[in-house]
Subunit: 318 residues, 2 copies
């Protein structure tokens, strides 16, 4: 079975770990979000790609869900001593090496997809990880600050401000000019199932869908497209998805997110058992819906979620 | 008193520490060798500049004479895990930060001299440190390996091969097209004394002198130019200067090095007391010479050497 997954960072990575357990023989291609990429200290940092790679490759800091295990922060300490920031982005020494290798390869002319493949040759994530695009896309967020409108990088909004101010717009800058990376459209066309993990529907899955050609390819693939709600009981399971949902005018409920994706794209949708009442609304929107436990508390619970998604996909197919 | 010092790495840096103690009120400008600069992992590494900066700024690893104190090597470990080399160049995590800041500033368009000034704003070395040139100069070494002539980067010869094969030529690639960095010629013209520390006469001081205009400015400055022999008892005090001296056809003796600089450049020369017999030969070459202890065993011994150099300069001036 060929499965394509559109993944953001922590939620996507953890879901993928469950999916690998649920479908050990599946051929999994992950289209990774690069909209939260950022240049820091002259280095190209791809947080979502790295979170998937580290999580599936056994290098992740399990507790925080991003960054490397057994990490130290001497480079960052020294950069701060030079007065070079930002200090709010926590790059560790081991993590720096990834960004150094990536930046060196990009500088030598390799596209990000080739660089990601090279990095994965070490990590052996057990999936094929492809960035959504080799072209530069960076999500920016418009905020109101002291009555003034300001547009800042997504990471500044997310990591520095902790989404503490209201976002008025979220724009994946460069997406309209970006092309899907080599292999993305081919993987979608060849897929048996396409899954949207419980990732952020705006700044993770939404950014991937903003690359011209990807949404269309998914809609036209003619295979079940099943998503899992990142909203449980009207709040994000993790992170601050409600803040960016508000910016795009979508209420922070499991049903509203399904409607936001729409029946033109989505065939099936899993909501948490806490959101039973959403099922009828989602189905009314033409999307088959089931309520199942959606908390990724451990690997087994996550694998069960993945199995539910695959089961729903087969229901849709039938 | 305005003193200009042409400095390589470890020898130059340690001498400078002695000079600062010997002449605490002097205005010292250091023209640093950049011929051993190398691009590693996409980063610009300037070993000699950093050794001077770290040594005078209190950040040096005292035992090894280069690199940072309290150092860790996680970045390097990870780069090796990615299969990215070279592994023979020992960059530590704290040291990496310096190269990251430098590379980022160079990428933003700052010349190396401005970058060096910015880095020194943190380290406060107590001297003005200027790279010999803002232009790229990299010393390459020709060797015979298995009957074949090969040209390799100086660092590969020095650090990887430990100068274990004979060098047939030493070429500061790019030097002929390089211009002295802003401030270098001005400092030389304004100097009261110019000193050559016991640095490598070929790949440290020699490379600086290879930048068109610097040798001429020193010769025409009309002030005492005094050097200290890096060769004691026919062997380098430290390092493998004999190997590169052989490549340029200079015997590895205190007198031969003085003659190599020549009386057109050098007014005074200090040899070690072990090389008493060299004094007559050096003076016969038109260079005033004294035999004094030249082992930089501690700061006081080094300061005494610096005082001897300044005394010889005054003798020459008189």
């Amino acid at each position: 079975m060929r499965i394509v997954v559109l993944a953001g960072g922590i939620g996507g990575a953890r879901f993928l770990r469950g999916l690998k357990q649920a479908a050990p023989d599946a051929d999994i291609t992950v289209v990774g979000n690069t909209g939260d990429d950022i240049h820091l200290f002259g280095l190209k940092v791809c947080p979502d790609l790295d979170t998937v790679m580290y999580t599936l490759g056994g290098g992740i800091n399990e507790e925080q869900g991003w960054g490397r295990t057994d990490e130290s922060f001497h480079v960052k300490e020294e950069l701060a001593a030079y007065g070079v920031g930002p200090e709010w982005f926590g790059l560790g020494d081991r993590d720096f090496a990834t960004h150094i290798v990536r930046t060196q390869m990009l500088g030598a002319g390799y596209p990000l997809s080739a660089v990601t493949e090279a990095l994965c040759a070490r990590w052996q994530p057990g999936v094929r990880l492809i960035p959504m695009s080799d072209d530069r896309v960076e999500t920016h967020v418009a905020i109101e600050s002291d009555g003034e409108r300001k547009v800042i990088h997504f990471q500044e909004y997310w990591v520095k401000l902790r989404a503490s101010v209201a976002a008025t717009a979220v724009v994946p800058v460069g997406a309209d000019q970006a092309k899907p990376a080599p292999g993305v459209l081919e993987a979608i066309a060849a897929a048996d199932v396409i899954l949207f993990p419980p990732s952020n529907p705006v700044v993770s899955v939404g950014t991937i869908l903003a690359v011209p050609g990807i949404r269309e390819a998914i809609a036209e693939a003619g295979v079940p497209v099943v998503g899992l709600s990142p909203i449980v009981g009207d709040a994000p399971v993790r992170g601050m998805a409600d803040k960016v949902l508000a910016a795009v005018g979508v209420e922070s409920t499991a049903a509203a997110v399904a409607e936001h994706y729409g029946s033109g794209l989505l065939d099936g949708w899993l909501v948490d058992t806490a959101d039973e009442t959403a099922v009828a609304r989602v189905e009314a929107a033409g999307i088959r819906c089931r309520a199942v436990p959606l908390m990724m508390t451990d690997l087994d619970a996550t694998a069960a979620m993945a199995r539910e998604a695959l089961t729903l996909a087969e229901e849709v197919r039938a």
